[in-house]
């Protein structure tokens, strides 16, 4: 059982949790993740560790409520518990002083890219952060990133805040400006990561992405998280989650991630339906 110390929404549906997990806090390095199970009937959900505090024995995770389980996670508040938190899992990011490094986060990927951006900065890189969101309301971690980045660019798809356009457009501008870019890290939705990979490939810029397949155990025992990288099958939970973006088969990843769409939808409908019922009951008992 892991206690939730604090919990607050960063944007609609995106919630930040600080949870008690002293062992993980002491151990974890940028790029690693935990698997969380909220209750006896819950799924095992992989979540990147966004931050940690060794002294206080806490880790931070940031969750976007999309499916039934992530929505349920986001119903938790400070003082609640998660039944199981296991980690740190996966290989830490490979960090070195590359020179100029760009960390790109899309949506909740911003949170996931955050610790690596910090590590890149600490390793001595000139660190550029591009933080993309659909609109102004979904921009997260701006303050935190300001403190880390040598240069911070916020992009919104609809232009309601910062640079109007996709993260790849900003990236292309930076490349076109003739600056030497030595390393790019991109974390976010698959189409975004694929677009970043396509952008940097012609220039031979070393680019790393963090993959987010469906997982079960997270220890290499089931093979459910497999992906194809460099035409070889990898188990993302132990061989990754970070891989050379130019070698990842994004098409396969997209398709595999749809395996449970049907069931997810059924579960979510069922869940919402129960909520509705509970709501109706609450209303009728009140009146």
């Amino acid at each position: 059982m892991n206690k939730i110390i604090s919990a607050e929404f960063l944007a609609a549906d995106i919630k930040r949790f600080v949870i008690e997990a002293p062992k993980i806090a002491a151990k974890r390095r940028a790029g690693q993740f935990v698997i969380v199970r909220i209750d006896e009937k819950g799924e095992r959900i992989p979540l990147t560790i966004a931050d940690s505090n060794k002294e206080q024995g806490t880790i931070t995770i940031i969750v976007q409520g999309i499916g039934k389980t992530t929505k349920e996670i986001n119903n938790h508040v400070a003082g609640d518990f998660f039944l199981d938190v296991v980690g740190p899992l996966g290989k830490p990011s490979h960090i070195e002083n590359f020179g100029t490094a760009i960390s790109i986060g899309g949506g909740v990927g911003t949170a996931i890219a955050f610790p690596t951006a910090v590590a890149l900065k600490e390793a001595g890189n000139h660190t550029i952060v591009i933080n993309g969101a659909r609109n102004k309301d979904l921009v997260i971690l701006e303050e935190e990133l300001k403190n880390v980045a040598d240069e911070l660019y916020i992009t919104t798809d609809d232009g309601s805040y910062g640079y109007h356009g996709f993260v790849t457009q900003k990236l292309q501008e930076l490349i076109d400006s003739g600056r030497k870019i030595d390393f790019v890290l991109a974390i976010g939705p698959i189409p975004m990561m694929r677009a970043v990979a396509n952008t940097t490939k012609p220039y031979g810029i070393k680019t790393v992405v963090s993959l987010n397949p469906v997982m079960v155990d997270g220890t290499g025992m089931c093979g459910g998280c497999r992906a194809t990288v460099d035409n070889k099958t990898v188990f993302v939970c132990v061989d990754g989650p970070e891989f050379d973006a130019h070698l990842v088969d994004f098409d396969l990843l997209t398709k595999r991630n749809r395996t449970y769409n049907q069931s997810e939808k059924a579960a979510l409908d069922n869940h919402l339906c129960k909520l509705d019922k509970a709501f109706v009951e609450a209303v009728t008992t009140e009146s």
């Binding site: 009937k41 095992r44 899992l89 093979g223 132990v238 069922n270």
Partner: protein, 475 residues
């Protein structure tokens, strides 16, 4: 009543196991075998000839005193019989259900020369169930505390039996388990219909009552390394992390949606209870009215295919590249699978999975095989028959061709010796590894084997760890 003569004993036929009717059980996850009644058990026990030299014991990897416990059963002293088995076997309720008796004790039983052998496994199962249900698992005497602490890594049969022995010897024991539940393959692999989870839980609870501590969600290598366990005050470490790295076949199309490793399929269904989806949150491939093929011929393959059938598969096939005779699965499982309507396709090997544009499995290209010369395992090697390829429709495939060694311990504990398959090398006498204070046993040492061998290894290690900690034996 005078004791039965040998002839009279030989005239009793082997008592059948009462079981759920095949059609009904192929739609539920309740245990298939219902267990002997007291009468059936005593009747079966009367078939034992009480041999002066019981050869059955030679067939038992841990040397259970078979003749003696059967004698107690025939006398109606079921609790005495349970205690007798426990002298050598820490998990009899489990082993009575999952051991390949037909290759072990029952293969040796002299009655089996002319008739069917004594049903030793069914008796073992009966007495341990009797004990658990009638009086609860009885806790043995525990020696005074030694002040020594042992870390057991992995909570499968090897880890559990080692922990049980060590706690009785007075050592403090903590079991570290990567998953959120204790039991290893007994929990995540072997299905409810063959090994009900409450039986495993009862064994684990008995260990808790004795004082064994369990830490779930602890992946040794990540959460703590083996060296850190020593730094944290443990005096010895027993590594029993199982096999736990599923092999795939390396054929095209293996990453289509609907292709699973047996580990993933069974973990979703057993550990995560996907068969109760959506009451439980974890989904699994919807097998209803689908064509499902499981590739392999071992217990894991049988478990997977029978699980698929229970989830509603229209056609559930076992596809095995050798013939029926070479299948490593327990006979009873094969027999049960056939009764449940599983279709067996022997001498057939997959060449390629075929899928649609959206990445879903749609079929498989198969090749017929014939048996050639014996290979290293002594079994005749399957060789492809030229021009025998054919394609069938398939919605789901489960690859159950075995497990390699999970690399987490190896990567984080490089100073242990491993063979080229990643198994930890030990001295089989005492399960000592190349690293001081570290012992290992079970599937991580032997490669995928059996529950009884893992349990035996755990007990051998416990004895050696005790010797090591009490300084009666130097490293």
């Amino acid at each position: 009543m005078p004791p039965l003569t040998k002839k009279e004993r030989m005239q009793i036929s082997r008592q059948p196991m009462p079981e759920q009717e095949p059609l009904a059980r192929s739609r539920n996850f309740l245990e298939v075998n219902l267990g002997f009644t007291e009468e059936l058990a005593r009747m079966e026990a009367n078939r034992c000839l009480q041999c002066p030299k019981p050869v059955c014991v030679e067939g038992c990897p841990v040397g259970v005193k078979i003749r003696d416990f059967i004698q107690l059963v025939s006398e109606g002293d079921f609790l005495g019989a349970a205690a007798k088995i426990k002298e050598d076997n820490a998990l009899p309720a489990v082993c009575g259900r999952v051991c390949p008796q037909e290759e072990q004790c029952e293969a040796k039983c002299v009655v089996g020369v002319k008739h069917d052998p004594v049903a030793i496994g069914r008796l073992e199962r009966f007495v341990s169930d009797y004990e658990r249900e009638k009086v609860g698992i009885r806790t043995p005497h525990v020696k005074p505390k030694t002040g020594k602490k042992v870390a057991v890594v992995g909570s499968g049969p090897a880890g559990l039996s080692c922990a049980g022995d060590l706690i009785q010897l007075g050592h403090d024991v903590t079991v570290f388990e990567a998953l959120h539940e204790i039991g290893g393959v007994l929990i995540y692999g072997i299905p409810e219909f063959r090994l009900p989870k409450n039986i495993v839980k009862a064994e684990v609870d008995a260990l808790k009552n004795l004082g064994v501590e369990f830490q779930t969600n602890a992946v040794i290598g990540f959460t703590d390394t083996v060296d850190e366990l020593f730094e944290n005050g443990y005096h010895a470490v027993f590594i029993a992390v199982g096999a736990g790295l599923p092999y795939f076949m390396s054929i095209p199309g293996e990453n289509f949606n609907g292709v699973y490793s047996a580990n993933e399929f069974l973990t979703r269904v057993n550990l995560m209870k996907a068969y109760k989806f959506p009451e439980y949150d974890t989904p699994v491939f919807d097998c209803k009215n689908k064509n499902v093929a499981v590739f392999g011929g071992g217990n894991t393959a049988m478990d997977a295919v029978r699980t698929a059938k229970r989830l509603g598969a229209k056609n559930a096939y076992i596809m095995y590249r050798r013939s029926e005779k070479e299948m490593p699965a327990r006979l009873e499982e094969v027999h049960h699978a056939k009764q449940e309507g599983i279709e067996f396709v022997f001498l057939t090997n997959p060449l390629e999975f075929l899928g649609d544009e959206d990445g879903w499995l749609r079929g498989v290209k198969l090749q017929k095989m014939e048996l050639g010369e014996p290979d290293a395992s002594g079994r005749r090697r399957p060789v492809p028959i030229p021009n025998s390829e054919y394609i069938i429709d398939l919605d789901m495939a489960v690859v159950a061709i075995g497990n390699g060694s999970n690399p987490i311990i190896q990567k984080t504990t490089p100073d242990l010796s491993y063979n080229k398959r990643g198994n930890i090398i030990v001295n089989e006498e005492n399960m000592k590894t190349s690293k001081k204070g570290v012992f290992a046993g079970g599937d991580i040492v032997s490669g995928g084997a059996t529950v009884i061998l893992a349990m035996g290894a755990g007990r051998t290690a416990a004895k050696a760890i005790d010797n090591y900690l009490t300084n009666t034996e130097a490293w």
